[in-house]
């Protein structure tokens, strides 16, 4: 069995995910592996009324959503790139749109042929102290690639 050579580091911009990214960078340095950082932009869902019809006048359009999300993605991915550079680890960055985080993460792992995923136990959700984060759980449930869950 070969050592891990290409680590996928999902980030959602939270400090927990940056903490996991730093551990990923440290591990990559120890293993002489490279890193790909990924930010997944969930699909735009327009707000709906009770009857199910989309609200006609939106203060916030899909285009604005994308623009805002891409800016957040850049910011989050840059932080991972800085952590990788700090450990002298090769790092490339990727943002994936139109998928739920867990799907985008697994898609990125397959596309980049990563052999390990390193991610935080929790993301943006509120139930941090009680359970494992929902996207982390879904990645764990569906991934064929090993997942290192950091906290």
């Amino acid at each position: 069995m070969k050592a891990y050579k290409h680590i996928l580091v999902p980030t959602d911009g939270t400090s927990l995910s940056l903490k996991a990214a730093k551990q990923a960078a440290s591990l990559a340095k120890d293993l002489k592996a490279k890193v790909t950082a990924v930010y997944v932009i969930p699909p735009w869902t327009p707000p709906m009324t009770d009857e199910g019809s989309a609200i006609a006048t939106l203060a916030f359009t899909e285009a604005q959503y994308r623009k805002d999300m891409e800016a957040r993605a850049s910011k989050a991915l840059d932080k991972v790139a800085v952590a990788a550079a700090g450990s002298k680890v090769e790092c490339d960055t990727l943002s994936i749109g139109g998928a739920q985080p867990w799907e985008g993460i697994l898609k990125a792992a397959r596309a980049k042929k990563c052999d390990l995923i390193v991610m935080a136990s929790h993301g943006r959700g509120a139930l941090r102290s009680l359970v494992l984060g929902s996207e982390t759980t879904k990645v764990l449930s569906h991934s064929r690639t090993p997942v290192l869950v950091c906290r």
């Binding site: 050592a3 120890d30 293993l31 700090g86 869950v149």
Partner: protein, 158 residues
């Protein structure tokens, strides 16, 4: 807490590898040994033995073979030695220092976390599922509980 990259040491120095002897555990053993070897870390292999359950009275009146506590202990210890022996053998082949222990507990996840804490382990490598296999759950029940309650990193493999 895991070491900061700036501190200079490898991220993990002492990895805990719990096993239940299942196929997934056996594959996970290879990952644990490989990771330990790549990091120059040591391993502690752990098997959690379920406690002896005294047999319930048989109301049907038929003959049932009942294992005594002594027989049970002998059987489970032999099983533990075998599965842990396989791990220590692979570790030895890879030049990885490895201790093995088995612990009796009705709560594998709790025994795993306790052992990690008592032994000063800084990471856990374990299979996504155990003996019950992958068909029932998206993620094995003990693995899920370890993940929920653990405060060190856990590497989950298939």
């Amino acid at each position: 807490m895991p070491l900061d990259a700036a501190a200079g040491g490898p991220l993990f120095r002492h990895i805990l590898f719990p096993t239940d002897g299942s196929d997934i555990s056996q594959r996970a053993a290879r990952s644990a040994v490989m990771l330990a070897r790549s990091l120059g870390a040591r391993l502690t292999a752990l098997h959690v033995i379920p406690p002896y359950t005294p047999p319930l009275p048989d109301l049907s009146g038929g003959y049932t073979y009942v294992m005594t506590e002594t027989e049970y202990e002998r059987a489970v210890r032999a099983e533990a030695d075998q599965m842990l022996g396989a791990v220590t053998d692979s570790a030895a082949e890879a030049g990885v220092p490895c201790q093995a222990l088995s612990v009796v507990s009705g709560s594998p996840w709790d025994a795993i976390i306790r052992t990690a804490r008592e032994r000063g382990c800084d990471a856990i490598v374990m299979g996504s599922h155990g003996r019950k296999g992958v068909s029932g759950l998206l993620l094995g029940s003990e693995t899920t509980k370890v993940l929920t309650h653990c405060d060190i990193p856990v590497l989950v493999t298939r």
